[in-house]
Symmetry: C2
Subunit: 244 residues, 2 copies
Amino acid sequence: MTTAHKVVGVLGGMGPDSTVDFFAKLVAATYAERDQDHLRIVIDNDPTVPDRTAAVEGRGPSPAPHLGAMARGLIAQGAEVLVMPCNGAHAFRSAVLDAAGDVPFLDLIETTVAATRARLPEVATVGLLATDGTLAARLYDDGYAGDGVRALPPTPADQALVMKAIYAVKRGRSDAQTAATVRAVAERLVLAGADAIVAGCTEIPLVLRDGEVVVDGRSVPVIASTDALVARTVAFATGAPPPG
Amino acid sequence: MTTAHKVVGVLGGMGPDSTVDFFAKLVAATYAERDQDHLRIVIDNDPTVPDRTAAVEGRGPSPAPHLGAMARGLIAQGAEVLVMPCNGAHAFRSAVLDAAGDVPFLDLIETTVAATRARLPEVATVGLLATDGTLAARLYDDGYAGDGVRALPPTPADQALVMKAIYAVKRGRSDAQTAATVRAVAERLVLAGADAIVAGCTEIPLVLRDGEVVVDGRSVPVIASTDALVARTVAFATGAPPPG
C-alpha cells in the first residue's frame, strides 16, 4: 500500500453524481502508463450526510459530526490529504479540520477563488451558481472578499430555478431543459454585471460547461469548483507544481 | 452513518477507469429522490495492487496480501458487503474471502455466469474477452462449467489485440480504433461459434457495448461483467429481489 504519491481521501456522496464526476475527472487528470501509476483514492460516498442547506437555514440537523467521522474514517483508511467536493458542506468545514488534525484539507472554496484569480486576474464580479445553503453561509462572499471580487447571486426567482436544477441532478433526473434553465440563469447574471460565472456547487458542472455561456456573441468563462479542486488535488498529491 | 441499506465496499483501482465506470453505473442504478436515498459506497481505488496477469503467469508478486488488506480496510470503514470489479483479481479471491470473514462477497465471475443463465438460458458457447490472467486462471471456464457452457477464448493473435486494448483503456488512451479492434475480435469469436460475448474484463465495456456486435446482420448479445455486478450489488444492498 505504499506509493510515492499522497493517498487522497474524498468526503463524498454530496451528492453521489458529483462524487462520480469528481472521481472520473481526478482519474482522467492523472497521467498513467499503467494502473500502478495512478493515484490511490479512498472515497466515502455517504449520501446519508444531513442536507447542508437545511442545516444552514436551521431547518435540519448539522452534518458536522457526520463529516468529522467521515474524515477520521478516511484517515484510518490511509488518506494523507482530504478533499470534500461539496461546496455547501464547507459551511461545516471546521468539523473536518478538527478531525483531520495534521492531515491537510484542500478547501474547495479557497481553491475555486485561487483558480479564479489565476485565470481571470482582472475579474470584478462573478455570478454565483450555488445552493441556498452556500449563499446563506456567504462562503463565496467571504472567499472572494480578500481579492476585492464581488460574488453576485441570482435573483430570488432565478435562485429557485437553480435549486430545482441542483435537486434534479441529485435525483439523476436532469435533462436538456434543466441545462437550458441553468444556462439562462447564468446569462442573466452576466447581463446583471458578472464578468464570469462560478459553478459553486458540484452538481452544476454536470449541466453547465465552460464555453456554454454566451451573451451578445461573447463567451463568458465558467469556473467550475469541481475542476479547480481536481487540478489542485492532482498537483498536491503528485508533488507537481500547482496549476495556474 | 446508519442506513436501511447495506454499505457497499469496493475493492477498486484495477484499473481506475473501470472503477469509475462501476461507481457511475452503481449510482445511476440506485433510485433516489434525494442524496439521502442513495447507497453508501466506500471505495478503495488502489492502483498499486500488483498486476494480476503477471502474478497468474508467475512473472510478478501475488496481489493476495494487498487484496486482503483492502478488504479489511473497507470493513473497518463500515462495508457490509464487498465487491471487486476486476475479473482477473478473482484468481486471488480466496484472500478476499478469508479477510471478509462473515461479510458477504459478491463474486464477479459467479454473478456474470448467473446473468448469462438468466438472460440467455439456451446459450452453448460464449466468446470471452478477458485478460491473459483471467484466461490462464480458467476463471470463466470453471464458472460456466456447471451450466454446461463453453467459454471460447480468442485466437492467440486476437488475444494479443485484446490485451493491447485493455492496457490502452487502463492508460486512458483508448480511441475509436481500440473500440473497432475489440469489436472485430468479438465478431470473429461469433464466427468461430460463440452465441454471445462475455466482457469478462471490466475495461472492455468502456470500448464495447451491448448491441455493437453484429454478424451477418444479426445483433449478438454482449454480457458485461460490470453491469451484472452492478445489478446484483444494488439488489443485494437494497434488499430488492435479484434481477433476471
